[in-house]
Every structure is written in structure tokens, then in C-alpha cells.
Subunit: 341 residues, 2 copies
């Protein structure tokens, strides 16, 4: 039986119970301040960011980049928001499939769902990767794009993260929100380039990050155009059309953006090719990694993690002098909400 990273995420999320304490839910807010990056401590990452933006946007500077070429790309999971104990989209898929199973005898027989329902760790051990993929496919297809996005929006409204007991959308990184704003204030165009599903991402990216749907690149399935009861709609199909991860990230950038980024941020080996591609262009470039080294306020993981593994990328970043952000040392605050670290 093949045990994949995807399956391990499921085991991780299934093993994680919500805390008893009910932390107060708070809404995100960004401080208006003369300092554009108030949640960043003085340090090498902050210096490198400010230096790059000043060099590339000051007219007459030898490193000046014309506005049209100021393309900045960001990974999402683990870079703009948390990704533990499992990718948030997988938490969505599991919640969704539980609901669907009540109306679908076939889906109710899915071994993963049965194992989750039993609460028996031994049962989870028998689940295959195929079971997981079937479950995700069943929860992400067979409806119109707009119906799917309504389902996602509803999930965001009710689901709570097991550790922090707040909506998942509150677990975005305050320092990265400030960085996005700072770049846009200097006329960089900000994009998400994520291994996550594009139709899922587009539901919250605009509100959470100020990144509109047309600037979100992600993994995608097929859709089919139909006239249904006189209404033209797009129906989501099962199966994956494009995987926007690893080598897929520069391919997705070329396909959707058509221009090599000058600024790219990630947090894992899955982002390495995007950073390499960014670094390979002419002129001034910025490559950055968020390093998860804060077990107390967030999570600490890198070389041996089954989620967001950062191993080869960490070596290459060190060797080439890319920016590696220590969350522990360089971020004053992790999340925007007042009750959160």
C-alpha cells in the first residue's frame, strides 16, 4: 500500500483535536503607520526587502525596473497563511465529503471517510492514496464553478482551525500582508502562484490579500461549458488538468502571467523552481523563503517535514544569498487578529 504525503496530511489532521479553550474570534486589521512594515523586526530580511524596493523603483537607479515588469509572485500555503496541521484545502475537502456522504451511499463507503468516522487510528492506516484522491475529486466537481465557490465561501464562514479555533481565513501572516501592501504601493503587481486549487484560492484571495482572481495561478481541473436550462455555465470536471507545483510553477507563470517575475517568495522545496526561474532573469531580483522556525507561535518544520518540506531550497538559498526569513526572530506578530500570536 502506497503511503503518500497527501495521506500523511490526512492522518495529521484527523489526529488533531480542537482545543477546549474558545479563543475570542477577532477580525483582521492593518495598522496605519509611517512604517510600511511595522510587524517586521529590524534585521536582514527587512533590510533586504526595503533595499530591493528602493533600488528598483527609484528613477535613475541603475537597478530601476519599469512598472510593467514589476511582477511579484507568492506561494500561498505556508507563505501567506499557515499550512498546519494539514493544508486548509484538505480540511475543506474532508468537511465537505462528510456532508456529501450523508446523501451519497457510494461516497459514504469511501475508506477514508469511514476511518475518520470510526476515530480508530488503525482504520486510518488502511486508507490508500487512491481513496484520498477519490474523496477530493468528489468534493471538487460535478457542480458549476459558481456553486463550488459558494460552497467554499460557506465553509470559510463556519469552519474553525483545530489549534487556534478561529476561521481559517484569520491565519494569514500579518507581516506578509504588509509586504504585499508595500510592494503594491511601489507599483508591483502581486500574484499568488500556489500548488493549491485555483478555484478554492480565488474565493478568499481578494478579501484576504487584496489579490484579485485574475492574479491567482494554481492547480486546476477541467471545466466544461454548457447551456443548462438556458443558462450558460461552467461545470467543474473530476481530474487534474495542471499541477502548479515544483517544475509546474515556472510553467504556470509562463502560461498565466507571460512574464518572468522579479520578486518571488516561497517556503518550501515546491517553490524552488519558481525562485530559480525568478533568479535567472537579468537585472535586480529578489528571492525569499519564509522559514518556519517558531514552534511556539506557529510551527517549526523544514528538512524532514511531510508538509512544506524545505531542504534543497534551504541549501540553495544559503548558497546563493537569498533571503531566509526567521519567523521567530524577524516577525513581531504572526497573525492579524488581536487574540492570536
Amino acid at each position: 500500500m502506497k503511503r503518500s504525503g497527501l495521506l500523511l496530511f490526512v492522518l495529521a489532521i484527523a489526529a488533531c483535536s480542537p482545543p477546549d479553550s474558545s479563543a475570542p474570534s477577532s477580525s483582521p486589521g492593518t495598522a496605519v503607520n509611517a512604517d510600511p512594515l511595522p510587524s517586521w523586526n529590524a534585521g536582514p530580511s527587512r533590510d533586504a526587502i526595503v533595499d530591493f524596493v528602493q533600488r528598483t523603483t527609484t528613477p535613475g537607479s541603475p537597478d530601476f525596473i519599469p512598472v510593467a515588469e514589476r511582477i511579484a509572485t507568492f506561494d500561498n500555503d505556508g507563505c501567506l497563511w499557515s499550512e498546519q496541521p494539514a493544508y486548509f484545502q484538505l480540511a475543506f475537502a474532508i468537511d465537505r465529503s462528510k456532508m456529501l456522504a450523508a446523501h451519497s451511499p457510494e461516497l459514504a463507503e469511501n475508506p477514508l471517510l469511514k476511518a475518520l468516522a470510526s476515530g480508530d487510528p488503525a482504520a486510518l492506516e488502511t486508507v490508500t492514496e487512491h481513496d484520498v484522491i477519490e474523496l477530493v475529486a468528489a468534493t471538487h466537481s460535478g457542480m458549476t464553478l459558481e456553486e463550488f465557490q459558494d460552497v467554499v465561501a460557506n465553509w470559510f464562514a463556519v469552519a474553525r482551525h483545530p489549534r487556534f479555533n478561529v476561521p481559517y481565513s484569520q491565519l494569514v501572516y500579518q507581516p506578509m500582508l504588509e509586504l504585499l501592501d508595500y510592494l503594491r504601493a511601489h507599483e508591483f503587481k502581486t500574484f499568488i502562484v500556489s500548488g493549491g486549487g485555483v478555484d478554492f484560492l480565488r474565493v478568499f484571495a481578494e478579501q484576504a490579500y487584496g489579490i484579485p482572481p485574475e492574479q491567482v495561478v494554481g492547480t486546476m481541473g477541467d471545466t466544461k461549458f454548457e447551456i443548462r436550462d438556458g443558462n450558460p455555465v461552467l461545470i467543474k470536471q473530476p481530474g487534474i488538468n495542471f499541477v502548479d507545483d515544483k517544475e509546474g510553477k515556472p510553467v504556470g507563470i509562463a502560461r498565466f502571467i507571460g512574464r518572468r517575475p522579479v520578486f518571488a517568495f516561497g517556503n518550501s522545496d515546491g517553490d524552488l523552481q519558481m525562485l530559480q526561474y525568478t533568479a535567472g532573469g537579468d537585472g535586480a531580483r529578489f528571492m525569499g523563503y519564509v522559514h518556519h522556525d517558531d514552534a511556539e507561535r506557529e510551527w517549526a518544520y523544514d528538512r524532514d517535514s511531510h508538509i512544506g518540506r524545505l531542504d534543497k531550497g534551504l541549501d540553495e538559498a544559503t548558497e546563493r544569498g537569498w533571503t531566509v526569513v526567521s519567523m521567530k526572530d524577524e516577525w513581531k506578530k504572526i497573525y492579524p487578529g488581536e487574540g492570536l500570536p
Copy 2:
């Protein structure tokens, strides 16, 4: 032997010789004028455009559309520039393949190239669609994305249109340039959604239309990420990954833009699904067709044309009250250049 539309285009372009007269080449320019649409005659199309923009961008109007949702999509061939006697991209492919054939014995054996070289109409009759596809594939793959785009840029610099004897990039429609500017002045985001190749389109769309690469959706092949001699590059692969035509247009819109347009312009049945999809949303919508009815200044063709056929679309536009622009009656001028109609 299967005779396709694509093959017919080749025959058309092969049969068309450049004129003897060498019309002076002139550079495009847009008049600065209080009238935002100076090349549009007063008439139903101009009225419909201005009315729509005013209704949807005036705060407090019942038809007001928030800025983020002001997505306007345009077909390219036959909508923003001419497409006769054959799609300009096919003219590029033929020119390119002639040059490549000099260095490739295999390509030199391609029946289409041999037929074109012979100048014998009977030889052209034996060419198959497969020969045409092979030729296009050979001219659009096996190099890096940046190399391909350099080749396209060089072609635009030297190639001349057979009828007007000017660079192809001068055969953009002046009234549509004004319309794009007018929409952008009212904070619409303008996109190309074309059956043409996206990597070809992106070479000229920014300069010709003010539409940046990341707002161009088109037909695309696969690319592969590689580190070549230490440089990270994307290599164009043979074969088609996505056809952005007919049902593919709304699919491409959902995939790349992620939002249903509120304004869409086309000129053929290949744009009908994009217009239907646009019409299917809530609130105010604008659907328009450019109707090629000006044989003197441009070309006249619709229901029976093998290029840009407008048949079902014309019926549906008439039935549903969509805008149908008569180039002959409603456009004062076709092209920007002074020596051109």
C-alpha cells in the same frame, strides 16, 4: 483527403500576392480629443457603448458595477486587427518554416512548403491538414519561450501584409484602440481572449493595444522547465495543450481570469460562447460583434466565410439585441496609419 479551414487559409494566403504599389509606412497614433471615440460615427453602436459605460460607472446608478468586476474581454483576429487573407499568425508560421527548411532536410520535405515553393496551385491541392499542423508545430517549439518571442518580434519588424504592404502590427483597428482606451479610462480591465497562440499574441499586445501579457488568454502548447547550462529556461513543446476557441473561450476565461466578464466583443461564431457566457451573468452586460461589411476599406465576409465565419452569432445577436458594428457605416477610419484607409 480532409480539407480543413486551416488548410483553406493557407491556400488563401499563398494565392495572395503583394501589391506593386508601395504605400508609405506610417506609425500609429491616437488623436487627443475631448471625444473619446473620434473614429466612431454617431450611430447605434457608439450610443450603446457610451450608454453602457455611463450607466455602469456612475456612482449611484442602478447599473453601477464595482471596479473589481469591470472585466472586458476582446477577441483579437478580426476584432482588434484584420484576419485576411489569412490569420497573421499563419503568415508568420509559413515565413518561419521557409527559413527553417533551409537548415532542416526533414522540414524541407513538408508537402506544404514544397507546394508553396513550386507556386503550382495543383500542388497545393494535395496538401493535407496534417502537413499544415506539422509545419506550425515545427515553427512553434523546440526553443525557449524567450527565443520564440524574439523570433516573432523579428518577424513583425520585417514582414509586410500582402494587400497593404505595411507591417502586420499596423493593421489594428483604430476605433477599437479608442474603445480600449475609453474602457480603461473608466477603470475596466481589458483582456484579449483569442484562438491565436498566447506566446505569439503577447509579443505585440502590450505595444499594440496596451494589454500586458498577463491579460492575454489564448491557445497554448506545453512548456517544460529545464536548467540549461545553469540557466533556468522554459522550452516550448510541440502539441496543443488548450484551444481557446468556441466553448474553450469561457473555459479559458474561468481558468485565467476567474471572473465572468461584463463586457465582451468578438466578430465570429468562435466568439459566441464567450458572448453567451458574458450575457449569462447578473446585472448590466454588453455584448458586441464587429461585422466585416466593408469590402472596399477592409474585407466583407460573414455567413459563408472560411475565416471568421459569423452566422449563428449574427442570428443570436440580432435576436437578443446585442450590438453589431457595421465597419462600413459606423467606423470613420479603419487603421491608425495615415496612408491607410
